[in-house]
């Protein structure tokens, strides 16, 4: 049975009619508000304000349009999606439209009653993020007190309500040594799935890269730990392992190819090929307030720009992997090489690859990492991590 995964994993199949193919998943960033301040947040540095967010009716219309377009799964994310008081109204419409609904939450603002109500309205799955299984460390990473205890409670509710649970664990320098305990925690919580997600360095994470980057030895060790646990827990818990591409030789097929399988709607309604794509200059992002979702997907300038392979330069253009990894990530190419059409510096064929790896090696070897720049709505300032 073929497996196509809208978020993390992608089958290595050549593209067939990539442009005409409807997306499989839609990441709905309902809000940028969040009580946590994790320094690796994938939201942009410029966060959308509450008064600019789409209304309930506008989000409901996005859900209906998504189903019409052929989208199968909707990932309700943020920020923290549960800070929207109308989450129930959005979930209800999404479920009625036939979408598979996934709540991506930090959990700390949830109540049991609300979760129960969301289930009744058709919520299919809960993905609960954790920062670490060590209280003090979790607090340091999220800048939020007693978060772990609350997450434990939320995980218990999810299972009591007989809903499937995924534990999402972003992995970095500060918690990578705790990985075995993080896996144990997910098993204890009754999770059917765990995402061991090494940080991908965009937005806030890129800003904090020197404070977050693990060493190559740590990454190799973590891969071994995951492999062992995967075998031991076969049939109990499914693993998704997202590797840090700074130590890779071939780039990841970012988003499964630009404009190929997924789309992203920001709190304000801008439609993006990926959550980081606003960092690429020269792209025009249409808004759901002005244009139909299907039209944006098929014809929007931002989606067309790097869709398929015709935009490629060498070494991507003649590369046998061109339709397997699509030249990696445009945002990373932009950030590191200054041209989004260059091959991803994670690729060993990139002239920037050596410098890219060297940056990770240098930063991860620093005995004292720099303080975190916490993810905040207002002007940012550094706060000591210790």
């Amino acid at each position: 049975m073929n497996e196509i995964a809208p978020m993390e994993q992608f089958s290595e199949k050549p593209v067939v009619e990539a442009c005409a193919r409807a997306p499989v998943g839609l990441l709905a960033e309902l809000t940028h508000r969040c009580p946590l301040q994790c320094p690796y947040c994938s939201n942009p540095l410029e966060l959308d304000r509450v008064n600019s967010e789409l209304t309930t009716e506008q989000w409901q219309d996005v859900m209906r349009q998504a189903a019409d377009l052929g989208i199968l799964q909707i990932h309700l994310s943020g920020g923290e999606p549960t800070v929207r008081k109308d989450l129930e109204d959005i979930v209800e419409v999404a479920a009625k439209a036939g979408l598979y609904t996934n709540l991506i939450t930090a959990g700390v603002t949830l109540t049991r009653d609300r979760l129960k109500r969301l289930k009744e309205l058709g919520l299919d799955h809960v993905q609960l993020s954790i920062q670490d299984v060590d209280d003090a460390n979790a607090e340091k990473i999220s800048a939020y007190k007693n978060g772990l205890a609350k997450k434990r409670e939320v995980g218990k509710w999810v299972r009591e309500l007989e809903m499937p649970l995924t534990i999402n664990a972003p992995i970095h320098r500060l918690n990578i040594e705790n990985l075995p305990n993080i896996i144990d925690f997910a098993v204890e919580m009754g999770a059917g799935r765990i995402e061991v997600a090494n940080i991908q360095y965009y937005a806030w994470a890129l800003k904090n890269r020197a404070a977050l980057m693990p060493t190559r030895a740590q990454v190799l060790k973590s891969a071994e730990i995951v492999e062992e646990a995967k075998q031991r827990l076969k049939g109990v818990m499914v693993f998704d392992f997202v590797v840090p591409d700074y130590y890779a030789k071939t780039p990841k097929p970012c988003m499964g190819g630009w404009g190929r399988g997924v789309m992203n709607v920001t709190p304000q309604g801008r439609v993006l090929p990926c959550h980081a794509s606003e960092s690429v200059p020269g792209l025009v992002f249409d808004n759901v307030k002005d244009r139909r979702l299907a039209d944006i997907w098929l014809n929007g300038q931002a989606f067309q720009k790097y869709r398929g392979t015709s935009w490629m330069k060498e070494p991507c253009k003649s590369c046998p992997r061109a339709e397997l990894d699509f030249g990696g990530c445009r945002c990373q190419a932009m950030a590191f090489t200054g041209d989004a059409a260059n091959t991803d510096p994670a690729c060993k064929l990139s002239p920037y690859h050596e410098a890219f790896v060297a940056a990770a090696e240098r930063e991860s070897a620093e005995a004292t990492p720099p303080p975190f720049v916490y993810r905040r709505m207002s002007p940012t300032k550094a706060t000591p991590a210790e």
Binding site: P6, G70, N102, G192
Partner: protein
């Protein structure tokens, strides 16, 4: 719920009665003209034989009964079909797509 206490790998045998848990959805997609299995952050594209097996996973029919029916429908040897069905369902059980009680 009781399932967490018994968190061990379930082995699919001829007497197992597989079922799709409520959060796993076998759906026909009219736009693409094919069936999908929707699972947490996963979409599977079952092949025609997998679809026939999944449609019969009702929690009441045993794997052996499913295989017997398919062997008849496809005019194929039962032992072969049974072995294929078990291996496919084991893989799906390991991925959390079916529950084999």
């Amino acid at each position: 719920m009781s399932t967490d206490a018994t968190r061990t790998r379930v082995m699919v045998v001829p007497a197992s009665k597989p079922a799709l848990p409520p959060h796993i959805k076998l759906r026909h997609d009219p736009g693409r003209g094919r069936w999908h299995v929707l699972a947490p952050e996963r979409v599977f594209e079952p092949d025609p034989i997998s679809i026939e097996i999944l449609k019969r996973c009702d929690g009441a029919t045993s794997v052996e009964e499913i295989a017997t029916e398919l062997a008849k429908d496809y005019n194929a040897p039962l032992q072969e079909i049974l072995a294929d069905t078990i291996s496919m369902l084991q893989e799906l059980s390991d991925k959390g797509v079916i529950k084999a009680a």
